[in-house]
Structure formats: structure tokens, C-alpha cells
Amino acid sequence: MAEAAHIPDEAETRARWGAFAFTDENLAKAKTIIARYPDGRQRSAVMPLLDLAQRQVGAETQTQGWLPVPVIEYVAAMLDMPYIRAYEVASFYTMYNLAPVGRYHVQVCGTTPCLLRGSDDVMAACANKGLVKGKTTPDGLFTLTEVECMGNCANAPMVQINDDNFEDLDYDRTIGILEALAAGESPKAGTQIPGRHTSEPEGGPTTLKQMVDANHDYRGEW
């Protein structure tokens, strides 16, 4: 991606992460994951293991985590696969971070449905809070990325922050969430419209209205 951060200096990352190894807890998890696949097909576990490694890196650095080259190599070696193959996977999926991110990785969806529903306002809110695309804020709290469709189109516009989705946003709600996160609170995930639960139609059902309370046979009306 044009705005993606460049991979950090190799010598530096090797010095910092060269000795990376899974914690006992994660190692046990990794073994469980590998055991899900048949013998000789252990490479299939590369994606969950990379995720696990990224989370461990995140825990160690108090951020959302990323995948330094030595960590990718550690996972590849564990699965007995060439480094380049693991690196291909890590570079293919945008949810693996190849450069450090902040404590909150703010991924704003900018695909058409979100765009139509006001993702520009969400971006503006982020910009006004000092977030710059592809960069981490100086306090190390937020990293902003624009991403493609996250599959929440019924609740557009949306933003994914770490493992949570925040949906039905507008300018003020976005500011509110970012401020709450900066203050160390954990705002409610999911839809931000009061009274809405998930992705049901706003303001009550618009179709199949008679089905709300009891079963209804529509066939006579066709």
C-alpha cells in the first residue's frame, strides 16, 4: 500500500527481536493449533501462528503488535517452511502488521457503502484527533490505517479498533470513542446508535412486519 510504513531496519529488528520465542502459554496454544492439521501439513497453521506471534509481540510492547522479520522466521522455522513462504503470507494479509503500530490500531473502512454513509467524517474526526494515515501518533496510542470492506456494510460507516468493531459512526461518535480510548476507558463495541442492537434495520423492521411477534403465513397475499 502506498501509505504503508516501510519495513523497519533489519539490523535493528534483529537485535531487538532475534531472541523471540513463544511464551509457555503461547507455545501450548501453538502446539494445539499445529495438531489440528494432518502430519506433514503443519504449514497450514502458519496464519493462526503468525497471529499468535503478533499478539505476543503486542503484549511485550504494550501495543497492538506487529511481526518483525525474526518473529516471522521463528514461526516459519517452527513449521519447517521456507522463510519466504511465511513472509508472503504475512505481507498478503493486511491484518498482519509489518511495521510497529500503536496501542490502538484504528482501521477505518473506506469502501463504497461506508463512503456513502459518511466515512469521510470518520476520517476527518481521526485527522482532527491528530491521527495521520499510516502513522502512529507521537504518544504511541493510535495508528491510523484506511482499509477495504470489513463486512459491516449494514452498520456503515465503521471502524475496527484492535479486535472490536465500532459501527454506525459519525463525526462526534468517532471523537467520543477516540477520547474514551485515550482516557483509558473501554467504550462499548458494536453499533453506536442508542437502542440498536446489531445490524437490524434502524427504527424497526421495514419488511415482514407481521412476523415480529408471531409466525405469519404470507402466502395468501402473493
Binding site: Y83, I84, R85
Partner: protein, 672 residues
């Protein structure tokens, strides 16, 4: 055997063939970028679209579609034409229009196919994508903006070379082909990706901006950098061989060549001996041919003469030298410069009997003191193929990375006499077992005999359902070895016999690996093309022609007789070897009976008829009984893959490969 029609032509193809192959069988050309006969099918360039009935009403990628009975394939319909134009237009969207400065120009698949199948004009006026260059080592030059993501190089590195270092990172528009962390690709076969690349993304670094393909004279030759006898083509302009490319020969090199074959040729322009030299007062000074010959005649050697053949020699040279010595009254000729003295009473016992093609079908292989990755990289790819078909490979020797899984038994040659039970079981159960004995093993006393004993124990020579099978193989490293042995260039005691004879006159024919200090009392005549160790020790230097500069016959490790043509003239006063020996013979008073190369070759064929037939020479299997109690460790003779002979040592490219790929870490440490 599916039967189908292609544009109305009925063809029958083998089960499992693709529609693309069926189209080719019908004589239809199908444009393609990602499909390659020797690589797995990727199906990602979409250039090979054809119309197939029955099937969905849209063009289909013929390379990935199995041919089936009663298919109707159209390759010339309007739909196909439109589909090809569309694919081509998409491919060209991000391909730069830099053909005038691109080294692939003139031999570019994209260029040719866009002329043949493209629209003729562009409708695209957005910005094009640009990709940073990726460093892939001293051999491969990259201009990744030109890449069309066919992934041939990725598949080659994974499937054939076995060094998985090239990959595609990123996705979609941002996908980039790169080596891992943009480091040099450390494969001996890396140069092949340059041939595989259908565009100018991967081109040859040493050959960059040297020539256009239509300027080059193409001559068919045989490679001498190892003993495989790779079929090559010299591309020369004027007096210079600019590059070497492999030719297709499924029995020998398929269509690969290793980096030394390809890139050692720049050594032909450096450190060349281009005039005769005579040593006067301890110093070599230039001389005329007559002076040089006279200096040799002045030795008055009589029959006290010996000759050593180098590793790169053609059979004709060795024959002429043998005849000259015979006329002088000596039979002291030896080709195994480093002092090996294995038994050569039966050539079958020192031959690669399985044949290069056959080793692919072996199901149990024992490597004895050999590093095929360096001694014969193309044999290594064959062994890799055997493993893919399910072969088990065991190794005796120090553990090395051969790009495939080897079960190392240990570095102890006594293992040969007492193989572990599991290995013995595997060999007994195998249908097509094979042993490969390397040069390192031949140097160990008794190893040859022990291996031959194993051949008998495991019944390596047998009749199988698919014909006779001989699983006993010796892997030589010198291109001249099998030819030399056929011409009798071996003494029972090896070089030691020559040393013991204390010859007054010693001919070193391109022999650079000899320990000349043992020949202090001899008058040393070096007939060769490069100023290397042999020339430094010589008393008289007669400059001769290197392998692209002469016609010649070569015999490869499997006993395949092949002939190479002359591409360019030798520099300066240098002459072809046979003519030097012919001229010298007259001065010495023992005139050789041929006045042209053709007569020399005819005389050689009269003496050894097998050398007259291109193809496999047949050696009768009658192994000698030899001492069979080897012991001790075995070493690998090649210490530096890129610098094994005088030409490679003179080559700037090979020196750089050696420094960077083999000694890169040491250099970094030294710099720190």
C-alpha cells in the same frame, strides 16, 4: 486417451494432458506467459484462453483445463481473439514502454505476443505502476516494473532449484516478486530464471547492455565446466563469446544450465595466453612459435616424456597428444591431475551407468562422498526429481545442504562395507536402487571396491519390467574424464607413476591442478589457454584454444559422446590444440599423420570407434574385483563451486559470485 477436436482437427492426447497441449498437438500456437512445460501449472496470466465446448460460455484458460473426450476447442474464434486482446491490454497496463532500453528486446515473449495477439494501440492514459528494483545477486539484474507476475521464477526456485528464496509479497496491485529480504539468491541454478522470465524483469547482469540478440552468431556447443556435458549455445559477436545459453536436451540437461556454464565465459577475455613464452633466466619471456618449438626440441627428451591432460580438454587434443607420445616412445599419459588412481580396467565401473535421465526413476539412492550440488548441479536436480517421485536418499560424508532431504549415515567410509540395517533393507526392497560414488570417495583407498561389492550384494545391475537397470554410478567432475579414459589417459598408479618415471619432458595440456613441484627435474611444456597455475610453472608456454574456440568431441559422465562447434577464433597467436601438437611433432621429428582437424578426428575415430557416434557409448559391465575395506573420513573435492577451473577463475562474474555468495559472511566480518 481423450479424443477431441481443435479448430476441427481431431487429436488424441495422453490421459492427463491439458487442452493447451492438445492444441499444440494439433499444431495450433497458444500464447502463454505463466505456463512452462517443466514447471507446475499456475494459470495466472490468462493469455492462453480458448473457447471450449461443452463448458461455460466464456473463454477458459487452456493450460489448466484437462483435455477430455469430445471436447470442441476453438482457438481462432472471435471470442478467443477478443479475449487475448483483452488480456494483453491488461498485462500492458502496468508494463513500461521501455523496450528500446530493455535487454529482453528482440527475444521477449511479451513483445512478440503483443505484436501477434494484441490490439495494436493503447487506450490507457492513467499513471503506470512502478516497482523498486530488487537485488537478487550478482547474476540476476532486476527491473521489477516490467514484471507481469507470471511466477515462473518463483516456481522454478521452489520446484527445480530447491532454494525457496524467491516469492511474491503483497497482494493485488501491490504484489511484487522479490527474493527473501532482497538478498542474493544462493542457487547454482539461479541463471535459469533469466531464461524463464517472459519479459525483461529478470535479465542477465553480466550481459546487461552488451548486445541485441539479432547481432549474435549462434553456435552449438558442449559445456566443459562440469562433466555433465550440458548442451549449450554460444552467442558470439566478432571474436567474443558474449553469453552462453542452454539448449534443450531431455537426456542431458533438460533445458537448464548452471551459473558457471552460463557466466564463466567472460573469463575467456581475461588472463589469456595469446603468444608463446619461453623461460629464460627464470623468467617467462614472449617468443615466436619457432623459438618455443626449438626450445622443446633442444631438450632431447627421447622417449623420456609424459603428458598430463587438463579437465577441459576435448578428445581430439588428447588423441593427438597420445599419438605424439606414442611416436616418441612413451605411454605415460594421465588425466587425473590431482593424483586419483582408481581402477579403470572396466570403464563401466567408472561410468554413470544409470544415465542422467534414469537417475530420476531410482527409488533408493546412496550418495558416497559426493556433493552433487557442486559437482554436477544438473544431476542434483535429477535426484530432487527422484525424491519427488518417492525415492529415499542416503549419504555418506559430511552433512551438507543438497536442497532435499538426505539421511546422512555419517562421515566414515567404513560404513560402505557395513551399511546400517535399515539402509540395507531399503536397498534390498528397492526396485531401482542406485549408488553414486563421488570424486571424494574415489580418493579413499578401497572405496571403489567396496561400492562395487555393494553393487553385487544389492544386485544393482538387473533387468526390470522397463528394461535393464544399472544402478552403479561414478560422478566425475572433469569434462575430459570419460573421453580421456576411453583414450587411455590413465596409469595404474595415477600421477605417481609419472612422477616416478622422472620424465625429461612433461606436457601439461591445460592441466592446472597438477602439483608441479614434484616435476622439478622435468622440462615443462604448458599447452593451454589461461595464465593459471600450469602456465606459472611452465618452461615453455604454447597458447591454445579454449572450448568455444575449437571443434571438439566430449564424453560426459554417462558416456555420451557429443560434439561441439567452434564459435570464435582464439586470441592473438593462440592456435587450436591439435594443430599445435601437429606442428610440434614435425619439429621433434615424429610427424603426426594428419593435416586438418577432420583428418585428426577421423584418425581418432579409427582408433576408438565409439567416439565416432554421437550418443551413449556402451561399456560392458564386467566390474573388476578390488580391495574393499575403506576407512576414514571422506572430503568433498570442490571447495569453491564458482572457481573450479582456469576459465572460471579468470571470470570476473565467477569471482564476484564466489566472493558474495560463498564468502559473503567472511567479507562482512572482515569489514567490521
Amino acid at each position: 486417451m481423450p479424443k477431441l477436436t481443435v479448430d476441427g482437427i481431431e487429436v488424441e492426447v495422453p490421459q492427463g494432458a491439458t487442452v493447451l497441449q492438445a492444441c499444440e498437438a494439433a499444431g495450433k500456437e497458444i500464447p502463454r506467459f505463466c505456463y512452462h512445460e517443466r514447471l507446475s501449472i499456475a494459470g495466472n496470466c490468462r493469455m492462453c484462453l480458448v473457447e471450449v465446448k461443452p463448458g461455460p460460455p466464456k473463454p477458459q484458460a487452456s493450460c489448466a483445463l484437462p483435455a477430455m473426450d469430445n471436447q470442441e476447442v476453438r482457438t481462432n474464434s472471435e471470442m478467443v481473439k477478443k479475449a487475448r486482446e483483452g488480456v494483453m491490454e491488461f498485462l500492458l497496463i502496468n508494463h513500461p514502454l521501455d523496450c528500446p532500453i530493455c535487454d529482453q528486446g528482440g527475444e521477449c515473449d511479451l513483445q512478440d505476443q503483443s505484436v501477434a495477439y494484441g490490439r495494436g494501440g493503447s487506450r490507457y492514459d492513467e499513471n503506470k505502476r512502478a516497482v523498486t528494483e530488487k537485488y537478487m545477486g550478482p547474476i540476476i539484474k532486476t527491473v521489477m516494473t516490467r514484471c507481469i507476475h507470471c511466477t515462473r521464477c518463483v516456481r522454478f526456485a521452489e520446484e527445480v532449484a530447491g532454494t525457496e528464496q524467491i516469492g511474491a509479497i503483497g497482494r493485488g496491485e501491490n504484489m511484487q516478486i522479490t527474493s527473501y529480504l532482497e538478498k542474493a539468491v544462493s542457487s547454482e541454478l539461479s541463471g535459469n530464471v533469466i531464461d524463464l522470465c517472459p519479459v525483461g524483469a529478470l535479465t542477465s547482469r553480466p550481459y546487461a547492455y552488451e548486445a541485441r540478440p539479432w547481432e549474435l552468431k549462434k553456435t552449438l556447443g558442449i559445456d566443459v565446466m562440469d562433466a555433465v556435458g550440458t548442451n549449450i549455445r554460444f552467442d558470439s559477436r566478432g571474436r567474443e563469446v558474449l553469453r552462453v545459453l542452454p539448449r534443450v536436451n531431455d537426456d542431458v540437461n533438460e533445458e537448464w544450465a548452471h551459473d558457471k556454464t552460463r557466466y564463466a565465459v567472460d573469463g575467456l577475455m581475461r588472463r589469456r595466453l595469446d603468444k608463446p613464452y619461453v623461460r629464460r633466466d627464470g623468467k617467462l619471456v614472449p617468443a615466436s612459435w619457432a623459438e618455443a618449438f626449438q626450445a622443446i626440441a633442444d631438450v632431447q627428451a627421447g622417449s623420456s616424456v609424459a603428458a598430463v591432460a587438463g579437465d577441459l580438454l576435448d578428445c581430439e587434443t588428447m588423441f593427438a597428444a597420445r599419438e605424439l607420445l606414442a611416436k616418441m616412445g612413451s605411454t605415460l599419459i594421465e588425466g587425473r591431475q590431482t593424483g586419483l588412481k582408481y581402477d579403470v580396467s572396466s570403464l563401466a565401473a567408472v561410468n554413470f551407468n544409470t544415465t542422467l535421465n534414469g537417475i530420476e526413476t531410482a527409488d533408493a539412492i546412496l550418495l558416497v562422498g559426493t556433493n552433487p550440488r557442486w559437482e554436477a548441479p544438473l544431476v542434483n536436480t535429477r535426484i530432487r526429481k527422484a525424491i519427488k517421485h518417492g525415492a529415499k536418499v542416503y549419504g555418506i560424508g559430511a552433512e551438507i545442504d543438497l536442497t532435499y532431504k538426505v539421511e546422512w549415515l555419517g562421515n566414515d567410509m567404513s560404513l560402505l562395507a557395513s551399511l546400517p540395517e535399515a539402509v540395507a533393507e531399503a536397498f534390498k526392497g528397492a526396485k531401482r536402487p542406485a549408488i553414486i560414488l563421488g570424486g571424494g570417495a574415489l580418493a579413499v583407498e578401497g572405496a571403489h571396491g567396496a561400492a562395487l561389492a555393494l553393487a553385487e550384494t544389492f544386485n544393482l545391475v538387473r533387468d526390470t519390467e522397463d528394461g535393464p537397470w544399472n544402478g552403479f554410478n561414478v560422478l566425475h567432475m572433469a569434462a575430459s574424464r570419460m573421453g580421456g579414459l576411453m583414450l587411455g589417459w590413465a596409469q595404474p598408479g595415477g600421477m605417481a607413476d609419472l612422477v616416478a618415471a622422472r620424465p625429461k619432458l612433461l606436457f601439461a595440456l591445460g592441466a592446472d591442478e597438477v602439483d608441479f613441484s614434484k616435476f622439478d627435474g622435468s622440462f615443462k611444456v604448458f599447452v593451454g589457454h589461461h595464465g593459471d597455475k600450469g602456465a606459472a610453472a611452465a618452461d615453455v608456454i604454447l597458447p591454445s584454444a579454449a572450448y568455444p574456440e575449437k571443434n571438439g568431441t566430449y564424453v560426459n559422465i554417462e558416456g555420451r559422446v557429443q560434439m561441439s562447434d567452434k564459435a570464435v577464433f582464439a586470441p592473438g597467436d593462440a592456435r587450436e590444440d591439435w594443430s599445435i601438437l601437429r606442428a610440434l611433432s614435425e619439429v621433434l621429428g615424429h610427424k603426426l599423420p594428419f593435416d586438418s582437424f577432420a583428418e585428426c578426428r577421423a584418425a581418432m575415430i579409427a582408433a576408438v570407434p565409439a567416439l565416432g557416434f554421437e550418443g551413449l557409448a556402451s561399456y560392458d559391465w564386467s566390474p573388476p574385483k578390488l580391495a574393499a575395506s575403506p576407512s576414514g573420513e571422506v572430503g568433498y573435492p570442490i571447495k569453491d563451486f564458482y572457481l573450479t577451473n582456469a576459465i572460471a577463475r579468470a571470470s570476473a562474474t565467477m569471482q564476484r559470485c564466489s566472493a558474495e555468495l560463498l564468502h559473503g559472511e567472511e567479507m562482512l566480518e572482515a569489514a567490521e
